[in-house]
Amino acid sequence: MQLAVNIIVLAAIYALLACGYVLIYRVSRVMNMAHGELSMLGAYLLFAAATVFAHHPIPALIIAILMSISTGVMVYVVLMRRMTGEMVLAAILTTIALGILLRGLVVLIWSASEQHPLQSLGFTNPSLAVFGGARISTCAALIVLMAALVYGSLFGFLRFGRWGVRMRAAGQNPLLAAQRGINLHAIYALAWSLSTLTGSIAGMLIALDSGLDQSMVVIGLKAFAPALVGGLDSLLGALFGALIVASSEVLAIHYVDPLLSDVVPFLVLIAMLIVRPWGLFGTREELDRV
């Protein structure tokens, strides 16, 4: 039982982080290697807001979320916009560089020691009993709920929302999209803000659940394994990929060797790349696209 819960929680974390990669990739064919850092930044923004509005959680949360959205937009407008038309590698490298920059800034502003936004928000994180004697912490439960919520709304948005349809259109054929009067820059900016938002939500919740420090970055990095396993251009894929990776990781910890837990995602990834390079739900021509 507990195993199942653990798997679900981890999967939710990965899913929340992975969809950020997917969102950006499908519109601009860029792998955002700074996603981990951006999520971490989101968490720190929450921490900052929490220290400013001590014990007024709601405004703090709202401020933090707004800030993280605008961060995403800024990243695009200031940085990635210039990289449109450059070669993919250059764009990826830009995101890597951005990541390094962010890491430095975070240490600069909030120092390297661990922070606990939960306390500064004045929340507590009691553990709840769920079916079969298994237990789950409130924040973890929140993560699962959030993942469901985010994915639900994303699916809805992309399928029915006008901007969603535009987004998919822009992803498939930017030229035609522009011809049809779709403002590509707006679309890309939207994608970046959405991905940063989801990433930050993940970051915030993880930070609330188990403290906040630099290690967040590596978690973010690990989350692109699910994204690729599922197929970089498919949200559904990201969801399934997260499930697969999470379950294999948890099972490896439980039955084989805890040490494996940080290679397992990549082993799964390699296996997938050998068998089905374009991922579970990915479209095949993506291979030649990049």
Partner: protein
Amino acid sequence: MSSRPRASGYFRTDYAADYALLGTRSARIWVALFSLALLLFPLVASPFQLDLACQVFLASVGALSLMLLMGYAGQISLGHAGLIAAGAFTVGILFRETNAPFWLTLPASALVGALLGVIFGLPSLRLRGLYLAVSTLALHFVVIYIGGEYETRRGFSTGIMIDPPQLGSLSVTDGRAWYFILLVAAASTLLVCLNLLRTRSGRAWRAIRTHETVAETLGIGIAAYKLLAFVISSSITAVAGALFAYYRGFVSVEAFSLFLTIQYVAMVIVGGMGSLLGALLGAAFVTIFPYVIESALLALPGAQGFASMLFAVNYAAFGLVMILFLLLEPLGLVGIWRRIQSYFLLWPYRHRPAAGAHQ
């Protein structure tokens, strides 16, 4: 290949001239002067500067091999640190287990590198660009894991110590000796690369990089050449790792983080894609830059007062500079270099002749 403008009045009169590494007299003179400077450097340099130079040479070897793979064969790889680690660990393990001398371990690591090259290269037969990059990245983690396991299982909790290599009776510890060894290593790597690029395979790689399908239709065996590129580059990289192990006198997984890969990719990009000179410039820049920033920051009044912040600044600055280069100078350092060069060559005219203006 060479898009450098030449002083007017220089014509190639035969194919030999086309193949000559150093076209003009002036080129030869410059190279001669430069190498002289390199030879004299140790006499004036402080040990710390020597160490920096050695680091630069080590980096150049790695950067050149990566440039071969990425800049010419057009295969993105994020497994570079993994390969360096593989080379280093080959030395470490062989030395620890069998106490093998360097003239055994170096070829061994080259061999291991070649084998890994095949493994790293296999995905490239099916994957391109991003997907390839990620698969190599995954392999990086696997290599590191294995290395780490060896370290702990054998109880080398603070890394594997390696004695300096024995040349006959004397053992190489002196900084100057290392300077020359690594200088030779870097120079020979450069020569190897230069010559490789002038062979059939070199041309094939460029063809593949520019357009894979077209290359295939031209009858180039894509698979073979891709693998070849990976094998060669990887074995050079592994040797670089081995040299690193001997130079530092120890091996430990922490030394081969993902950040190392990023640094090497940065060298290739900052230096300028598709140019060996770029690789060298990039290696020098990326290696020395942090120290320059550091000393610049420490030069500020009362710097020590808030040291921990300063170093965070240093860390961020590296990212910032990379961004600036990517945004403002896509051609990289080599682009700047060429601009300066052509400025002087073409003076007083401002534009170079259209032919070969862009590579």
